[in-house]
């Protein structure tokens, strides 16, 4: 299942993370997962939130540059080697992992990994064929979210 991820361009300076997070908080939007990719001068804040459409509108209105991309959420067993099988499945193909990040699952003994693949459809087909579970949007952002 593809999940909507928001990316925000931020200048790398003290306090720059506060305002976008505060905007979400004031509007009652929950952050389910996030990662910050940084360089010396700028960064990209990537977010999975409970209502991505509303959050994107909120950010755009405040003058942020926002980009919505689809990422795949994949569950792996939370134990040594849990990731290896997945990587092997993807590894012997032309599909590239652009970036990834992880967060603990709402269910026990599982970890959820978020992947940005160069070809998400091909990746999804390959993973499903190998019996690796791709997580439904509702499990990440909750029932109230519109992903």
């Amino acid at each position: 299942m593809k999940i909507q991820q928001l990316s925000l361009f931020l200048e790398n300076k003290p306090g720059c993370l506060l305002e976008p997070c505060r905007l979400l908080a004031e509007d009652g939007i929950n952050i389910r997962a996030l990662t910050l990719a940084d360089t010396r001068e700028f960064g990209i804040l990537r977010l999975i939130v409970s209502d991505s459409r509303r959050a994107a509108a909120l950010f755009t209105e405040r003058g942020y540059v926002v980009n919505v991309t689809e990422v795949l959420a994949i569950e792996v067993p939370d134990r040594p080697g849990g990731l290896v099988h997945l990587l092997e499945t993807i590894g012997n193909s032309e599909i590239n992992i652009e970036y990834m990040y992880a967060f603990p699952s709402v269910r026990s003994e599982k970890a959820v990994l978020l992947f940005r693949f160069s070809d998400p459809d091909a990746a999804m087909a390959r993973l499903q064929a190998a019996g690796i579970s791709v997580v439904e949007s509702v499990e990440i952002v909750g029932p109230g979210g519109r992903g």
């Binding site: 991820q5 990316s7 361009f9 931020l10 200048e11 990719a37 360089t39 001068e41 700028f42 990209i44 990537r46 755009t60 405040r62 003058g63 942020y64 540059v65 926002v66 980009n67 991309t69 652009e98 970036y99 940005r116």
Partner: protein
Amino acid sequence: MTVPREARSVEYNPVSAPDYTPVPLLRQLQLERLQMVVRRAYDRVPPLRERMQAGGVTPDLVRSLEDVAAFPFTGKADLRDNYPYGLFASPMEEVVRLHASSGTTGKPIVVAYTQQDLDVWTNAMVRTLASCGLHKGDIVQNAYGYGLFTGGLGLHYGAEGLGATVIPISGGNTDRQIMVMKDFGVTAVCSTPSYFLHLIERAGELGIDMRELPLRVGVFGAEPWSESMRRHIESRSRVRACDIYGLSEITGPGVASECVFQCGLHVFEDHFYPEIVDPSTGRILPEGEEGELVLTTLSKRAMPILRYRTRDITAFVPGPCACGRTLRRIRRITRRSDDMFIIRGVNVFPSQVETALLAVEGTVPHYVIVLTREKGLDQMEVQVEVTPEVFSDKIGALESLQAKLVHALDQVLGVKVRVRLVEPRGIQRSEGKAKRLIDRRNLAD
């Protein structure tokens, strides 16, 4: 008056008749007006008389147009030194309007108009708009600021004089501008080119494609802009983007304007006498050579200005224009002699930076140049806004954009510069003239 055959092939508007005055007649008219204006300045404006006396010249020395070269220049400092009314040639009873230019340092400069001056200005503006292809029936959204700035009222009376429908919306309130543009069926917009770019961007955010609106002409001026910026504007809207030129010291907008052929700006020579001089020596340059534009008002009564140093760099465009106008053309002004800065021994104009940025695909020209001095060495940083078009969720893509920009700047300028990608909110939006250069070198050590 006879109209050349070529002129009939394009939209000919009778208000443009003076633009086609046969050259000998035009020169004779200019000479008569020049003699009058020099005489008026000498008789009625003590600082100008003293200046002429110091230079050993008197009004009777003007026997040909070339004789103007013997007369002293006027600079912005002269207007500031005589603030507010020191250069007026008419008593206040005859002055019906005052305007003032934005003073970047200290006091502004004040300019005055008699009723006749306003009529001349309006006439020049009517001809400016006709030259850009506007006519009766056009719905003109005037987004130049109304007020002390000459842009708003200049365009306003010009468009009314032409018989077009004017929407005096003034600058600012971008969302309302877009609503009006769409709902009122606006066919022409007057604004600074950078503000129009801002309107295009904002319209896009609101889901409005300007190419689908009945907009057909953009009348852009009040700041230098490049040919690449014109292409950018014309591809993102359907307007024919015309460049107009003017300055408050001389009258306001209406000094020169492009025609529909967009190949140089015709100077309304019956009212303004242009010269091109070497900015360092002040000597008149041979026809076609690039230098500083110097202007003399030929019809001004309240405030005659002799040989005003505009600081704008241009050149006369040789030969006749396809439109058939006999008015000489000047090249589009993309830089000013005082915009230029020197970085590590290399002369740089902000317009060159713009050209480089636009050469990189997808970069729209919102940028600012910051100069600093670090350990005695000058550093130039170009801050470029990241736009939704170029933004990616991948660091690598942004880094390669940055590298491409550095390379393009290096190619154009021949000097290594830093490029910093900034948030759109990082650079202040101009609703008037865009500020492109921040020089912090005096503050650093």
